[in-house]
């Protein structure tokens, strides 16, 4: 960990290494302490001034520094606090560092660094106690050097200062601080507080420290959690005193002064005052402290008991990071390139593109993008439509890039340089405009394509192989006995009223052509037919389904025009070509090499048909209704390769699923859909897209054929570097989707984004986007499960997470005392949790018994197409407690509603048997009634049935306030995302197996069915990372 740092090395090494890590025990610490102290002292004195040079250097040297690891044990406590903000800070500091140095004299920043360095060097021997503090210090220093500028600057300074002050003076104070400072404090803590802390731990006896450490860490993590702080206080508080004492003893000379000054200095944030007195020290560390930690440590960390056996004690579940705010998109990227298209359309797994192959090989996460070309734009942000009627679409001659905001005009506006291939193109006369003094076109405001990253061009005739097709929907309905029984016919067939054109066909009588009718002209005929369908087949006792022949018939009808084929299937295809066997029940196949065969289509007929349908621009959506095995793996293939999707309604019954089917079918028919589309993503020289993941068919190496695309479909892709070294500073990506809109116009939607090229792995981590990474991970794992065992797919996810965290750890372990903490970049703090959630998702979880094969496959097909936000919601659903809101008298306003929308950790511990909870994963809502819930509430909500079996009770609005409120909540939750209609299930605590099925098995943080819980998972990953 710490050892290696050259500069820091001295300081860190000792402390970190020996005492902390292995020993954990008190002894090391104690010993270290003394040492540390000694070390410290020495350092400070000499350090301060002299160190300067080095200090700064250090700081500057290692950007990494920030990461600092303040972490060292002592620090850790603080460190944790560092959490997000801090970490980020650090970075900036780095950059700044140089200035600071210069500044040193002037500003606090400089000062600190020097001090640190000095300290560190000297300190080294002390190791432990000091070590940790020193580390912090070092870290601080480095950071400070770097940071210093920042820290001081940061608003935090104040906090930090305060915190530190507090911390140093009174630990107890810390806790309070924690939230704010907690993290930040570390630095300061590192210095002033840290010392104390550190010392404390030592003194206190390290033993306890573990917990403490963890606590600190947690605190670090926890930032949010008061608890942690509390712990800290508790744990630390006592020690603190000691520590301080010790410090003083060891540090004494410096400390007192330092601390005092620091605090004061810090508080204010001004290093200067402090600086002078203390020496660099103060200034350096302190200022940062508040912000420090942030500054100091570039990473977040979790302290984990140093003793392997002590994990449970060492890791507080409350401090683990949880995405309770949903998807958090990195904002820095958008700020850096304001002309980029919105992250709705394109998200890169990291917005810092590595500049060399070697860097790529150290980045173990996927390198790619998730594209959702037709994402729904919020009101007021509609995509501008550009019509180059006279000039033809302006594109680069060589690479065919569409004109975009990043092209540059030169030569007085007569030429433009392509941003992707750098070719100089002539500007056509019609498109010509003069340039103003700044080199911008004078008519910029009239050209959205030159100012916005996302535009839609109207495509002229050369972009068509045939006249634009009208939207066409064809229904293929299974009328075998099960459909009749379940009521599927009635419920589904009252729907298609919004279509423009509909095709009807009696499935069993394949007739070519002329079956297409124009809905507006023949509406009555269609309605009559639909109405008569159920009665026509009501006496049908046929259990066979001639799916294959029907598919062929549909193909013949549709191949003239293309369109969308909606297949309503409720039994296993059993007649004619494409008939399938029952194969899902083979429990023996699980765990063997043949396991994956169950998840791929059994008959090549389906792949071949899918390919043919795509060729003729037909998209297929599968609506599957059976409660028995229907071989979704085979049927879904049709949707997968035609850009469609699979809707699966297990145990469909029209009384229950009516609303869901109606909503989803209406959505399918009415959402904005692009027809006969092809999509391509272009990128700058040196970068090449290598693989694509999602529901589509590849038409050529980089062209996705999408017979129908809509706003609910996203596609993931990975890219690789073609050259060993990228020479450009920026890489541009351009997604172009050529499609026919529902209004019958041929259009090209173009999304352009730029991303910087970096040479630093730390920067890649900093700019990573968890959402995109998880999306890609999910798709890769699902694809893997099609050719390997589930186990292997899950392991692959874990492996990659471990590798990336290990690499990250290596990045910082050298300069910072990482000790036994688990460190990770702030940007990826949820990665572990989402990884776990992926392994526990319906598709990948467990083995044979953990989910039905059909459900597994349907979930897999669905996840392959999900946009990022929806995916994250599915992986970590929200759990809301609503009973208080329901029982409270007033409270209709939105503010009240906002209040209940506080998501709870997805663990059984969050469930209170006196409450009502709503679990919402975007696909279903589960309302959970606690056992101790007052019967009145239940009665109000579900009527007199409240005591019976909930599986037969459905929630409907009753004539009382409470029920109206609940329905209001459900409605709001449903409106939040219209792409699916979450069906509401009622579950009572203790009602098995329903409770288990709907809720308990989906609480990802719990240990379910042999899968790790969140804590165990983190510990396991941590252990693997440390190996």
């Amino acid at each position: 960990m710490v050892t290696e740092n050259p500069n820091h090395a001295n300081n860190y090494p000792r402390p970190a290494a020996t005492p902390f890590a292995p020993p954990q025990s008190n002894t090391p610490f104690s010993s270290s302490r003394p040492v540390a102290n000694s070390a410290f002292r020495p350092t400070p004195p000499p350090n301060t001034p002299p160190s300067f040079p080095s200090g700064p250097v250090v700081g500057s040297e290692v950007p990494g520094f920030r990461p600092m690891q303040t972490a060292t044990r002592p620090t850790p406590p603080y460190g944790p606090p560092t959490t997000g903000p801090f970490q980020r800070f650090p970075t900036p500091p780095f950059q700044t560092p140089p200035p600071p140095r210069t500044a040193p004299p002037v500003g606090p920043p400089t000062i600190r660094p020097p001090a640190f360095q000095n300290h560190q060097p000297q300190v080294p021997p002390p190791s432990m106690p000091m070590g940790s503090p020193p580390q912090t210090m070092n870290g601080m220093l480095s950071n400070s050097n770097m940071q210093q500028p920042q820290p001081p600057m940061g608003p935090r300074p104040g906090h930090p200062a305060a915190v530190r002050a507090t911390s140093s003076s009174a630990w107890p104070g810390y806790p309070g601080m924690q939230s704010n400072t907690a993290t930040p404090p570390p630095p300061s803590g590192g210095y002033a507080p840290p010392q104390p802390t550190t010392s404390t731990p030592f003194q206190g006896g390290y033993a306890p420290p573990q917990p403490t450490t963890s606590a600190p860490f947690q605190g670090g993590y926890a930032p949010p959690q008061p608890t942690t702080s509390a712990q800290f206080q508790g744990g630390y508080a006592p020690p603190q005193p000691t520590t301080s004492a010790q410090f003083q003893g060891g540090y004494a000379p410096p400390q007192p002064t330092t601390s005092a000054p620091f605090q004061s200095g810090y508080g204010p944030t001004q290093p200067p005052p402090v600086a002078s007195p203390l020496g660099m020290y103060v200034g350096g560390p302190t200022p940062p402290t508040g912000g420090m930690q942030g500054l100091v440590e570039d990473f977040s960390s979790l302290s984990i008991g140093s003793v392997p056996g002590s994990f449970d004690a060492g890791l507080d579940t409350k401090v683990l990071p949880r995405p309770l705010d949903g998807d958090v998109e990195p904002t820095s990227f958008a700020e850096m390139y304001p002309m980029n298209c919105s992250s709705r359309y394109l998200r890169l797994t990291t917005s810092a593109i590595p500049n060399s192959q070697s860097l790529v090989s150290r980045w173990h996460l996927p390198l790619g993008a998730v594209v959702c070309p037709l994402a729904e734009a919020p009101e007021g942000e509609e995509v501008p439509i550009v019509n180059f009627a006279t000039t033809g679409i302006v594109r680069c001659r060589r690479c065919r890039t569409y004109v975009n905001p990043y092209v540059t005009f030169t030569d007085g506006g007569r030429k433009w340089r392509c941003n992707i291939c750098a070719l100089l193109n002539d500007v056509q006369n019609d498109y010509f405009a003069h340039l103003d003094a700044t080199g911008k076109r004078v008519d910029l405001d009239q050209h959205p394509e030159l100012t916005k990253g996302c535009v839609e061009f109207v495509a002229p005739a050369e972009y068509m192989v045939r006249p634009p097709m009208p939207p066409l929907y064809f229904f293929l309905i299974d009328v075998s006995i099960y459909s009749v029984k379940s009521g599927m016919l009635e419920s589904s067939l009252t729907q298609p009223q919004m279509m423009v054109v509909s095709d009807l066909d009696d499935i069993f009588v394949p007739l070519p052509d002329d079956l297409l009718v124009n809905l507006s002209e023949s509406r009555t005929v269609v309605d009559a037919f639909l109405d008569s369908l159920p009665s026509m087949f009501q006496d049908n006792v046929n259990v066979e389904s001639a799916f294959g022949p029907a598919l062929k018939a549909a193909f013949m009808v549709m191949s003239q025009l293309g369109g969308k084929l909606l297949i309503f299937q409720s039994t296993l295809p059993s007649l004619g070509v494409g008939r399938l066997r029952l194969r899902g029940d083979d429990i023996r196949a699980y765990g063997t090499d043949r396991e994956h065969a169950l998840r791929i289509p059994e008959d090549p007929f389906y792949k071949q048909m899918a390919a043919d349908f795509t060729k003729y621009q037909v998209a297929i959506n599968i609506y599957a209704f059976s409660d028995k095995y229907t071989d979704i793996a085979s049927l879904g293939t049709l949707a997968k390769y035609t850009g469609g999707q699979v809707y699966y309604y297990p145990s469909f019954h029209s009384a229950i699923h009516k609303d869901k089917l109606r909503h989803e079918l209406a959505r399918d028919l009415t959402r904005e859909t692009a027809w006969e589309a092809v999509m391509r993503i272009r990128c700058g020289k040196g970068v090449r897209f290598t693989s694509y993941h999602g529901n589509f068919m590849l038409r050529s190496t980089d062209l996705l054929a999408l017979p129908a695309v809509d706003c609910d479909k996203a596609y993931a892709m990975q890219f690789a570097l073609e050259e060993t070294l990228l020479t450009t500073q920026i890489v541009y990506f351009q997604v172009a989707l050529l499609h026919t809109s529902s209004s019958g116009e041929r259009r090209i939607r173009v999304h352009t984004a730029a991303a910087s090229v970096v040479a630093d792995l730390g920067e890649m981590y900093r700019q990573a986007d968890t959402g995109a990474i998880v999306s890609l991970f999910g798709r890769l794992a699902i694809e893997k499960s099609l050719s390997y065992k589930l186990e292997e797919a899950r392991n692959a996810i874990q492996q990659r997470i471990v590798k990336s965290l290990k690499e990250y750890r290596n990045l910082y372990a050298v300069q910072h005392r990482v000790g036994t903490r688990m460190i990770y970049p702030e940007s990826l703090k949820y990665l572990c949790l989402y990884g776990l959630a992926l392994c526990k998702s319906t598709t990948l979880r467990g083995g044979y018994a953990d989910s039905q094969l059909d459900e597994r496959c349907a979930a897999g097909f669905t996840m392959m197409a999900l946009p990022v936000k929806k995916m994250l919601k599915l992986l970590y659903p929200s759990l809301l407690r609503v009973d208080e809101y329901l029982t409270k008298a007033s409270g209709h306003g939105d503010s009240e509603f906002e209040k209940i929308c506080t998501r709870l950790p997805l663990a059984a511990d969050s469930l209170d048997s006196r409450g009502i909870y709503i679990y919402d994963d975007g696909f279903r809502l589960v309302v959970w009634f606690g056992q101790m819930l007052s019967p009145d509430i239940s009665r109000n909500l579900v009527g007199e049935d409240f005591a019976t079996d909930f599986s037969r009770v459905s929630l409907s609005e009753r004539d009382n306030e409470m029920s109206r409120k609940l329905m209001g909540i459900l409605k709001k939750l449903r409106n939040g995302d219209a792409s699916y209609y979450p069906l509401c299930h009622l579950v009572r605590q203790g009602e098995q197996p329903r409770e288990n099925f709907f809720l308990l098995s989906n609480l990802v943080e719990d240990q379910v069915g042999g899968m790790n819980g969140y804590v165990d998972w983190v510990l396991q990953i941590h252990r693997l990372v440390q190996q």
Partner: protein, 157 residues
């Protein structure tokens, strides 16, 4: 030895056919890669020749075995086994929907096959020359079949 000469001629023809079929498939795959051909056309063209090629290869193998040319038979054996494995697993045809994912692997596999067939081709040419000329030339000097056999063993590696 007239029958021997006939066999060599048959082998020669089969070999040429195998090489041609492989070249054709490789060309299709390269066209696909460089976007000169769409995946539908490319895979249907390749799939059309895959099974005939396998059959031809099997015939060639069996003939070599029956005629006792062990070394050459062993040379063709790996491909025979691999082919039958692919066929049993139903993986011998190109999958239109996933062509691009496997195009590299498929190409490499076919290039490897091509190399084997080419080496086989040279052996066949040499052996047929031996069969056609040497034996007739040497016959007067080796009145007995036994001697000839020994000699041929030497020539046969």
């Amino acid at each position: 030895m007239a029958w021997e000469v006939i066999f060599w001629i048959i082998f020669f023809i089969i070999n040429i056919a195998l090489i041609a079929s492989n070249l054709y498939q490789i060309v299709c795959l390269s066209d696909l890669e460089s976007d000169y051909m769409n995946p539908y056309e490319s895979s249907s063209r390749i799939n059309a020749v895959v099974v005939p090629e396998m059959v031809l290869h099997g015939v060639c193998s069996v003939l070599l075995l029956l005629t006792g040319y062990w070394f050459m038979f062993l040379l063709t054996l790996p491909i025979t086994i691999y082919n039958s494995m692919l066929y049993m697993n139903n993986q011998h045809l190109i999958d239109v929907t996933e062509v691009f994912r496997y195009v590299d692997a498929e190409k490499k596999y076919r290039i490897a096959k091509l190399a084997v067939y080419l080496s086989l081709f040279f052996l066949v040419v040499i052996r047929s020359m031996i069969a056609g000329n040497f034996t007739t030339i040497l016959e007067p000097f080796h009145p007995t079949n036994e001697d000839l056999d020994i000699l041929s063993h030497v020539l046969e590696f």
